[in-house]
Every structure is written in structure tokens, then in C-alpha cells.
Symmetry: C3
Subunit: 371 residues, 3 copies
């Protein structure tokens, strides 16, 4: 273990935290100590949880979790992206001389709702670094959660069996509760309508990797901007860079909400709304398309159908898109990008999915053994 | 492989075996031979199964399975506990120099009903020793069992793919049937209302680890004593030690049954029933709390609610509990232990869950490569 | 990696391909190149998929997939069987000196419908060779397929996380679609009513391993010959050998279909139908029994019950079966082979299941690192 691991100071979050104000003013990617040293801390943490909130502001200095996109400042992002880039070579070398960086480390993927894509990418990341995995594909139905056990109790059991927990949960704020309980690092792999920070990181990394820079980017966010967790997180993160311009292109029923617009204003980020996808595409470095989520429309299938067909990325969009620009999508996609776009070199969405592997490898390495 | 592995002689079980009398008079933790040598034995075993029962008493010497708590005598328990203690250091050293003790060994976790906690702890145990895992999280629904395949046929297939089978099943006696069929070791990870021997072992180990001794222990068993598999097995096992005193504290509807009381009498173990948890707590080394199982009450929710609230381990219990004593619970817990108890150093239940890892590591090592 | 891996030329398939004519005239077991080299090809492949079919005949040279039994000629079969035989020693040596042949390789088992037996055998195969596994036990329900993602998109994501995909799907032709998309090898682990080529390979391998030869074999196919995917594939494959005689023994409602009979005729394979299992058994080298599949009979339980009881392999069949002959069954079995047959050395079905491990080890080795 890298005892002298670099301490990456992460800045105070810019935004009110979604579910709790219990958060130290500084977060760090410092690796955790050996399993043998955890016991005492666990008891402390639980006891703190029972104490009044106001007392805790300064008393729960949690290290080394990945809970929400806002926790990272530019320096932290840069460090993660640098390590992610190194991971490409690690993966490429897997067959000849597989990495032993995380040999002897055990990751528990505790998924309370299924997400095969995210789970496989975390598990591949762990294994490409020589680590091992404990899997729970559907903890909500299968685990003692069904018998009424609290998330906190489950976490305190699972932390005894593993070195890091990757949590997917259906409740906003669950990842923070887990992190406040655990004495090992927790990574939020999506907590309901809350956060999905590794998706946000891989999105920003993809822009950097594809375009070469983040400052000065012109970004078109298209589709469901009201409910899309990914576009909201991306807007937060990209705001940390200079000279950004964002175009919102969405059906009226799923327009970007005011909280993000206000936030962008407060950060001095230029944005405008547009109903002309072709015009936006002709000016952008990145078109980020998203799926209109049917489940948000309830019985109003008519509204869904209208919203769904409105902004499609197709050959016409490619026709006006600058040569250096790219199309991104968090996947899965339905028909909001036509399949004839896939073969264009500017279709970056499968490379984007692949970047999820590198970002997760980087985070696992940073959290478990440091830089 | 340790060819000269120590043969731990395990005594004749004290009790009638739950589902079968086919059991040799001596059990052993001797490791199994290489996979190449198994085939003949399998045919023999199956053929024996078809023969009349009385002939088989002496003809099916089964080795190296963990089927029920009663199979272990004090010497066997001591050996397991010694190895479990060594496993703490093995786990602590995982990151620097991971164990290769079970490298090249493959464990199949064949779970016919979900039990995330037990499964993860077995899988973590295997991996902390350098072994590999094949997982089936819900074999009942997913496997050919749904097409009507017998457990015996499934076992004979799975034993071809693995070196040891960890079986969780919904039918009492299933583990013994599996062990009678398999030519590789079988560990019972719970068979319905039957046995859950690794839970019993980790409970006794926890008492020894926390209190320092087993002889002379005063033990309060609290909660659902009628249906609780764990408290029944614990009563059996603890009876192997000297000078034990057991207090039963439970609502009338879920009192400890006569078979256990008779057994304790036959072993000369002192016991009494009490309705005063505080008084019992003030005298005990261990308070073992259990969950009242709602599913046992059917439509009588009123009876459940009455039973459930009757004996709660809370700060008041801590107030009278001796300083050296501990609170245990097999988990999951609902509110039968209040969360403000968690931070007390005497709250041993999460350490108890962690001991499950060490006990399972010890069993896997003993069954596969010997001492 | 074996850069100079032997290129095993596989002959043009004898039969029209089930779901697509896009197939090169030559298939090969050549291993794939490193992951870093895949990206360009993916785009090409997808773009080809959008082009008119007739143009593609010669433009999609796909290498290194296992999609259907017919793709293998005698030379390819021989090579696979030779490697499978070597795998027995590799497995036997696992504990002392585990294989590192596939160290650093990652297999994704993408199962859209459950098949525990097949999945465990692939995963055991990968691990016995030192490789690692990503598991999806029920991708249909759990993955983004439920949100409407196409198989092609899922494949293009999963190929970014792994080195080889083992696909089980409910739709005939799915495996070929996956292979046409992926830039890493795909193995068909069963696609609905379509193909299950590794089962066919292990069946033929078992005959060779048990009887010592394939040319000149007399084979009795018994049970559900209309719906049984395995007996149909076996008939195709065995037709590649000389001087074969096949007996069909089945209830009238599930007789072998004309396409297979016509094919056997075209290949000069002698076959006849019989209703006398004992007479057939007395003349055969192999009796291949199958389960009558209740689900095929809908509400006609009476027809099912009649069909089911008609041809049972029992002690009477053993009584007339030649000493050197064997009983095979793809499993799971219900009562179409009585359990008192199991202990006879000629009962080969569990050895047959075990051969599935060796065949899958051989295929994984051949596809990933070559001979």
C-alpha cells in the first residue's frame, strides 16, 4: 500500500448538499487504512449519527468517498482524469502482464436496484486492476433489507467483508448515509433521483478526451433536461471551467429547471434555450443527447410521444455538426439517435461508455491505494 | 496440498440427526482428494442411497462436510476456533501479501433461497484465502430445479465444476442429502427450518473471543426462542462446555421448546425461564437477543406486536449489564436492540457478523487443505 | 499471447444459416487482437449492418465466434477435442499449480434467460484457466434491455468491459447478431429455439471420449425429437462422420422432423424410426435419452403424460445394452432415466455434464489465445 499517498485536497462543495449538511469542509482521496483498524471508528460514527445534527457539522470528517459530482474541484478532476488516462495503458496491457495494483482488495457491489451497465463497468474496473469482487445484483429483494434491516446495519455488516462498497440505491441520499456509517470508502453508483457522480465524471472526461480541452467548450444539452440526472450533473461540473457556453434544447414539458439556470448564472456561465437543434449543432463542440423517460409521463402517453420525436440526432444533424465535434449520450438510447449515426467517427457514445471503465479504475485506485 | 493434513476426530453426534440416520460414527475435517479421483465414489454413493436404510449405517463413511452444529465436539470446536483466530491475521495481511492458501480452488455457492449476508461472507472468506467463486443467488427460480431436477442431480453436476459446495436450501435435510451425494465437501449454509451450523459456530466463537472463555458462561437467550434456529443451535453447542447457566427470556407465545430443555437437562446444563430481562442482564456474560419473526404469526398481527415490544435491549439494559459482558444478535435486527446501544463497546453484534468471515475462512481451509 | 496461433480453417457451413446470410465463407478460431485495437472495426461493422444485405456477403469477415454447431468441420472438431482432452490435466492440476493461460482475460456471461448449469460451466471453465468473469444472471429483466435498448447497443457497451462475451438469449439468431456487432469473440450459449453449439460439441466429444471413435457409431436418439434442440444439433454434427447409423425412438407427437431426415439423407447417413426401445438399445453404442418438455403440450396434459411414460431408460434397457455402450442425457432429467441406472458404469450423463467444462475450457483457450 502506498503509505505516502498524495492527499488531493478537494474544495468545499459549491452547492447545498442534497440530503444532509453533515459534511466536512474538505474531502480527500486519501486511501483507507488496513481492515484491522476499523472497529473503533465504526462505533464512533454510529454514535455521532444519533447526536443532534448541529453538533456534527465539524465532527464527522469523512474521507475518501465519492458521493456527488459537486465534491470535486478542478484540481481533483484533473488528478482523476490523469489517472484515468493512465488506466487505458493498464487495460491494454491486461493480457500480457495484468495489473496487481489492487491485488488482495475486495470490492462489494451492493445494488438495491439493477443497473447492469454500471455494475459491470465497476466490476471490470476492479478486475482490470487485479482486485476481486463480491456481487449483489438485486439487494433490495434478496437481502435482509426485505426483513426490515436498515441500510446502516447492512453497511456495517458488508464493510466487514470488503475493502470498498459501491452502492446503488433507490433513495436519494442513501450513498451519503452509507458513507457516514462505513469505515471503508463508499462510491455512489446512483441513488435514485439523487446523484450518479461517476457518470458525471466520465461525461466530463469524455469531453476532454475527445475535444482536448474543457475551457471554452460549447455544449448542447438535448432531450429530457428536467428529469435527466446526467445533464444536471454535467451542467454543475462543466461550470467549473472557463468560458463555457451551454445550449438547452428540449421539449417544453421537460425543460431545464431554474435551480440549474440560477446556478449557472451565479458561476458566470453563459446559457441559452433554443428550439432549433440544427442551428445549435452547427455551433457546438459537443451535442449531449438524452432519452425522454417514458415513466415520467404517467398516463399522458400523448405528451410522451410528442416530446420523444421532437429532437432526434440523425444524418441531418451530422451534416451541420463541425468536423471536430462529437455526439454523446449516457445510454441506453432508443431512437433519439438514429443508428445510421453510429458509424460516423463523431459518434462518441460507445467510447464514452468505455471511458466509464477508465474513470472507475481511476477512482478505485485513488481511493484504495492513492495516486 | 497438505497431504499429511491433521485428522481431526469429531465425536459421534449427541443427538438424533434431523433427517437421516445415515451418518458414520466418526466425522473428520480431512481434506478431499484431487478432482480426478472422484468418479467412482459418486456411483457408489448413489447406489448406496437406493439400498435399504438399515444396511447403510456403517457403509457410507462421509468425510469433511459441515452439516449440523451437533457434529462438532469440543476438540473439533477448538481446532476451528484456533484456525479462525489465525484468519484474522490472514485478512489483515490481504493487501500487502494476499493469501494463496486456496489458490486454484473453486467454491460454488448454491443458494436456493436468497441470503445475501451469508453468501457474501462465504464468498469473502474464499477470496481472502485466494480462492475463486461460482455464484448462484437464486437457484430455486433460475436453475433446472424449476424444471423438476432433483437436488441430487444438481449436486452431481455442480460438483463437476467446483471443489466445494456451499448450499442454502429451503428444505430441512437438504444439506445432508447433498453431502450424501457429493464427492466434494458440502457446507450447510442453512436448510430451511433445519440447521445453520456456521452461524452456531460463529456465535460460540464470538462468546469465546469476547469473554475469553466458554466454560462457566452465563447466557441470556432473549426473543423468539421457539422458532429461532440460531438460539436452538447455540443451546446445543454451548452445552458441550462446563458449568453453563442459561436464562430464557421470551414472550409466552414463542417460548423455548421442550426438546431443548430436555437436552440441556440430559447434559446437566442449568437453565431457568425468566420474564425479567433487567434482572437477567445484570447476571449474564452474554445477552443474545433475537428478532421476533413476524412471518410466524400469520394473521395474528396483534400477538406479533405484543411479543415484539416485550423485551427490548436498550440503554436501561446496558445500565445493569456487567462491564465485561456483551450483547449479541444474529442480525438482521429491527428495533429489538435500539440504535443508541450500537456505540457501547459491549454491543458485539457487528463484530459477531465479522467473526462469520473468520469462521468460514477456517472451515474452507480445514475442508480443502487441512490444518 | 500466442501471436503465432495456429489458424484453424473451418469449412463453409453445410446448411443455410438460421437468421442471416451475412457470414464469411471461412471461419477461424484465430484469437483476437488486443483491446486497444478494436475501436475502428466496431464502426465499420455497424456501418456494414446498415448497408443492403447483398453487398455484405463478402464484406463482413467475422472471425473467432462460436455461433452454431454447423460451423465446425471434422478438422475443427478434432482440434477442439484434442484441446478439451488436454484440459482434463489442466483441471486436475488446478490446486497445485493453477493455470495462468487466461490470466488477465475477462469473460462476460450475458444471460438474457437463466441457465445455471450452462453459466456455471462456462464460468468454471474460465476460472480453471486463470481468467476472470463478469456475470449477468438475468439480463432480460435487470439490464437496460428493459428500457428498450437493442441487443446491439448492449453488446457494444459490454465489449468495452470484457475480452469475450458468452451470450444466452431467448431469441433465435441473437448470437449471430451479437457476433456481427462485437469486435471481441462471442460464444452462443443457447439462443431460444435456435442453437446451443457448445452442448452439441460436448455431446459429440462425450461419444468420442466414451466409445473411443465417432466413425461407425450406432446412435439411438430417444424422447422428444421434435423440440429437442440437442438431438437435432447432434444429428447434424454426427453426420460429418463415416458410417453412422441413427435410430429415432419417440412418441408420435414428438417425432423427428423432416428437415433433419432430409439432411441425413443428403449426407448419406442411414437412419430408421423404431418404437422398440429394447431392440434399439441392444444394437447401439449410444442411447441418447431426452426429456419430454411439458411446456410444449400446452393444455393437453393427457398427451404429455402419455408421451412422457412411453420410453424410459431403466434396468431392463441396461439388461440388453452392450457392455461397451453408454447412456447419455443433456440434463436436467425427470424420470425418463430411473435413478437405479445411475450407478451403472454405462450411465455417462454426469461425465457428459463434466465434459461441458472441458469443451468450454478448450473453446475459451482457442478463441482467446489460440492453440
Amino acid at each position: 500500500m502506498a503509505a505516502a499517498a498524495a492527499r488531493t485536497a478537494l474544495a468545499r462543495p459549491h452547492l447545498p448538499l442534497p440530503s444532509s449538511t453533515r459534511r466536512s469542509s474538505r474531502l480527500s482521496l486519501t486511501p483507507f487504512s488496513a481492515p484491522g483498524l476499523r472497529v473503533g471508528g465504526a462505533a464512533t460514527s454510529i454514535s455521532a449519527a444519533a447526536a443532534p445534527l448541529q453538533q456534527q457539522q465539524a465532527t464527522t470528517p469523512r474521507l475518501g468517498d465519492v458521493i456527488e459530482a459537486q465534491q470535486f474541484d478542478r484540481d481533483a478532476l484533473n488528478e482523476i482524469f490523469e489517472v484515468a488516462r493512465e488506466m487505458e495503458a493498464v487495460e491494454r496491457g491486461s493480457h500480457g502482464a495484468p495489473s496487481r495494483v489492487l491485488e488482495g482488495y475486495l470490492m462489494a457491489t451492493l445494488f438495491y436496484e439493477p443497473s447492469t451497465r454500471t455494475r459491470l463497468s465497476f466490476e471490470a474496473a476492479m478486475r482490470r486492476l487485479g482486485g476481486e469482487v463480491l456481487t449483489t445484483e438485486n439487494a433490495r429483494e434478496f437481502s435482509s433489507a426485505a426483513k426490515g434491516e436498515t441500510l446502516e446495519d447492512t453497511i456495517r455488516t458488508v464493510e466487514g467483508y470488503s475493502d470498498i462498497i459501491v452502492l446503488r440505491h433507490f433513495e436519494s441520499g442513501a450513498a451519503r448515509r452509507a458513507a457516514d456509517t462505513a469505515n471503508i470508502p463508499v462510491i455512489n453508483a446512483g441513488d435514485g433521483p439523487g446523484q450518479h457522480p461517476t457518470q458525471a465524471l466520465l461525461d466530463v472526461y469524455t469531453i476532454k478526451r475527445e475535444i482536448g480541452t474543457l475551457d471554452g467548450i460549447k455544449l448542447g444539452l438535448v432531450g429530457d433536461l428536467a428529469n435527466g440526472r446526467t445533464v444536471r450533473s454535467l451542467a454543475y461540473l462543466i461550470a467549473k471551467y472557463q468560458n463555457i457556453k451551454i445550449y438547452f434544447v428540449s421539449p417544453d414539458v421537460v425543460k431545464m429547471k431554474d435551480d440549474i439556470k440560477d446556478y449557472l448564472n451565479s458561476q458566470g456561465v453563459a446559457w441559452e434555450e433554443s428550439s432549433d437543434l440544427l442551428e445549435v449543432a452547427s455551433k457546438c463542440d459537443v451535442i449531449y443527447q438524452t432519452r425522454i423517460q417514458k415513466e415520467r409521463f404517467g398516463e399522458r402517453i400523448d405528451l410522451y410521444e410528442a416530446a420523444r420525436g421532437k429532437y432526434i440526432v440523425d444524418k441531418k444533424v451530422l451534416g451541420v455538426l463541425p468536423k471536430h465535434a462529437v455526439i454523446m449520450h449516457p445510454l441506453p438510447r432508443l431512437d433519439e439517435i438514429t443508428v445510421d449515426v453510429d458509424s460516423d467517427p463523431r459518434a462518441a457514445y460507445f467510447r464514452q461508455a468505455k471511458n466509464g471503465l477508465y474513470i472507475r479504475m481511476a477512482l478505485l485506485k485513488l481511493l484504495l491505494v492513492g495516486h
